[in-house]
């Protein structure tokens, strides 16, 4: 899970490192200091005891009668002072009880120090065995009560093996204590990491779910520590968020339903009015003066209102997700020509349509998009208005262009906004202001897998506005949107 290259490492590794270094430092300091002190005490004690013993034994020696002592005297003294574990050497001016050993085991500095009359000791190691070398001179008591060095040097080699074993045991126990404390530190670190990490991980997961839109996400609050407070804060935040988002969604749904309901309610009176607009149109020329103009006005405005309501209903269908595709295999060039022909635009539009371009799409929606784009170009642009079809392996691309002034860069981002009208002076012009928004939605409704159709507005470098429609050639049936019939048609009697 953790890559060795990552730095700084994760919380778990950082906690582990902190605990281990803490454990190691503490153990090293405590065990190390204890070891050194104990070792010193052991050696000091052994050393002191050895020195005292040697001194006592020397005083108990039979007094030396003759100087210089004979070789036999030296051997006798050495033999007397040697014990089970100790070896004594008696030396006098170059002679000694064990001449071959003297140079091998007695350091020269020691010998010279002893020569000057002091009691000297030194720890030595020979063939892997530690021992203590103690050296002193036998003092001659003079009749006047003073003493002088006799020149007879006594050395004793006291084995420190027993002490070394104690010290080794001490070291081993220090090591094992260290290892134990290290293991303990690791275990504690892991436990602590788990204790901290689990809530952190839960928080991470919960935050992610919240981000993905599951606003009902809550954390279990355990105990009353800082982590519990964090969880509590998270829960409060999520709750407030859920409430506010719920409120916003409700308001938005209400607004949408209101538009849909109003549109549907308008439809019944409009149906009655629309039915008789022909009658008004026919009668208008025969009606006297203002009555005729009034009749024509009513007829025109009824038609505008009808278009507006149709568009609003269409938009509310997109908003509620009930707009569905009715896919068919379409010969795109003939569908385009049919759209132009049906609206009497064939003469006014230059069409460049490669033959035999088939696509699986919703022909009605293609008609709506195209009619909006071409109608827009004819109304606001300047001739020639062109429709070009380009076939790609997976897409068809239809561009509708004109040679008008083009779109203002300020207007461009809002072209597909609802009720957006570039020219406010034309705000009462024909069209509901929803046409391009509906065209855009219709383009987006076509999809294949995750890829959606698109409608983009832009300007041709050579002048004029260009709308580019891209639709997948093989649309897949969308997951059938469950039509909320009661919701979207609730107002009808």
């Amino acid at each position: 899970m953790l890559s060795p290259l990552r730095w700084p490492p994760g919380l778990r590794v950082r906690l582990l490192l902190a605990f281990v270094s803490l454990g190691l430092t503490t153990t090293a300091v405590v065990a190390g200091a204890g070891y050194v002190r104990a070792r010193n005490v052991i050696l000091q004690t052994a050393q002191d005891a050895a020195v005292v013993t040697l001194k006592e034994q020397i005083t108990q020696l039979a007094p030396i009668r003759t100087l210089p002592p004979s070789q036999a005297d030296l051997d006798a003294i050495a033999a007397e002072l040697s014990g089970r574990d100790d070896t004594a050497i008696a030396a006098y001016q170059g002679r000694s009880s064990a001449p071959d050993q003297v140079s091998a085991v007695l350091p020269p500095e020691l010998r010279s120090a002893v020569g000057s009359g002091r009691v000297v000791w030194q720890r030595q190691t020979a063939q892997g065995f530690p021992y203590l070398v103690i050296g002193t001179q036998v003092m001659l008591s003079l009749p006047d009560g003073t003493a002088r060095p006799s020149g007879l040097e006594i050395y004793r080699l006291h084995s420190l093996e027993a002490e070394q074993r104690s010290i080794d045991r001490l070291a081993a126990s220090a090591w094992s204590t260290g290892a134990l404390s290290l293991a303990l530190a690791v275990v504690l670190a892991l436990l602590a990491a788990r204790g901290v990490l689990r809530p952190v991980r839960e928080l991470d997961r919960a935050a992610r779910r919240l981000g993905d839109g599951d606003l009902s996400t809550r954390l279990a609050v355990r105990g009353s520590d800082e982590l519990a407070r964090v969880a509590d804060t998270f829960n409060h935040t999520a709750q407030r968020l859920e409430r506010q988002v719920g409120e916003l969604r409700r308001m938005e749904a209400d607004a949408r339903r209101f538009v849909a309901d109003v549109s549907h309610e308008l439809r019944t009176p409009l149906a009655a009015m629309t039915a008789v607009t022909d009658v008004l149109d026919e009668e208008a020329p025969r009606l006297p003066g203002d009555a005729g103009r009034a009749a024509r006005l009513v007829s025109q405005e009824t038609q505008s209102l009808t278009r507006l309501v149709d568009d609003l209903i269409e938009v509310s269908r997109f908003d509620s997700g009930t707009a569905a595709l009715a896919l068919d295999d379409v010969d795109v060039p003939s569908a385009v020509r049919a759209t132009l022909r049906a609206r009497g635009w064939t003469e006014r539009v230059v069409a460049d349509l490669p033959p035999d371009t088939r696509a699986r799409l919703d022909p009605r929606r293609l008609d709506v998009i195209l009619a909006n784009l071409v109608g827009n170009a004819l109304r606001h642009g300047a001739p020639p208005v062109t429709v070009r079809l380009r076939a790609e392996p997976d897409w068809i691309v239809l561009t509708v262009g004109d040679r008008g002034p083009g779109l203002d860069p300020l207007v461009l981002p809002h072209v597909f906004d609802r009720f957006y009208k570039a020219d406010s002076a034309r705000s009462r012009s024909e069209g509901s202001g929803l046409g391009l928004a509906i065209a855009w939605e219709n383009a987006r409704l076509h999809r294949t897998g995750a890829e959606r159709g698109s409608l983009v507005a832009g300007n041709d470098p050579a002048g004029g506005a260009v709308f580019t429609l891209r639709l997948p050639r093989r649309c897949t049936d969308p997951a059938p949107a469950v039509a909320d019939r009661t919701g979207s048609d609730g107002g009808r009697p």
Binding site: A272, A275, D328, P363, A483
Partner: protein, 230 residues
Amino acid sequence: MSRVLLIEDHQTVRDGLQLALTRQGHTVDAVATGEQGLARLGTDTADVVVLDLMLPGMDGFEVCRRIRSAGDLPIIMLTARNDDIDVVAGLEAGADDYVVKPVQARVLEARIRAVLRRTGGEPRRPGPEPTVQRYGALTIDRSALVISKAGVPIGLAPTELRLLLELSGTPGRVLSRQQLLEAVWEHGYLGDSRLVDACVQRLRAKIEDDSAAPVYVQTVRGFGYRFGPL
């Protein structure tokens, strides 16, 4: 010109449509409920029914089914544009065409005339072909407009008959939905391939042995429909 039975519950819409259609020269009998409409039909007073789908009491779908089961009177349904589902359900219940409210009288009138033309009119291709054709168990008498299967006459609604005649006029040739829309329903671009699909479904249910595996009216995926080959 023709007798229209208008079934529409909303009074102003009913009055408006009646006024407009009457001025076009039709005789309009307007009623407010499906029950009243069905009662009128018993007396055979209409050439075509204009039927609102949202009716109090018996709804338009049920009315449509009853009219269809009683005979081949053409039905144009008036739908609240709201739900595409309405369109499909209405067509499957046997309607010959549909218009969306609010509708201009001119458009409704054109649809009425078209539907009357294709139900009352003579077959479009009497030409050199024999007037009686046999395809497997199916017999098509193009002059008497009688379709029978294994000797038993089959009652087809006007649009279904028209569709069958159109398809069987060129056996083996694929006709796109668009072509069928223009030929049978006489409207192309407004067209809605669901009209064709719904009508094909109803036709298959009547003439095929197994409408899940059709032999007479076959689907050619990506292109349209074809009559045969058997």
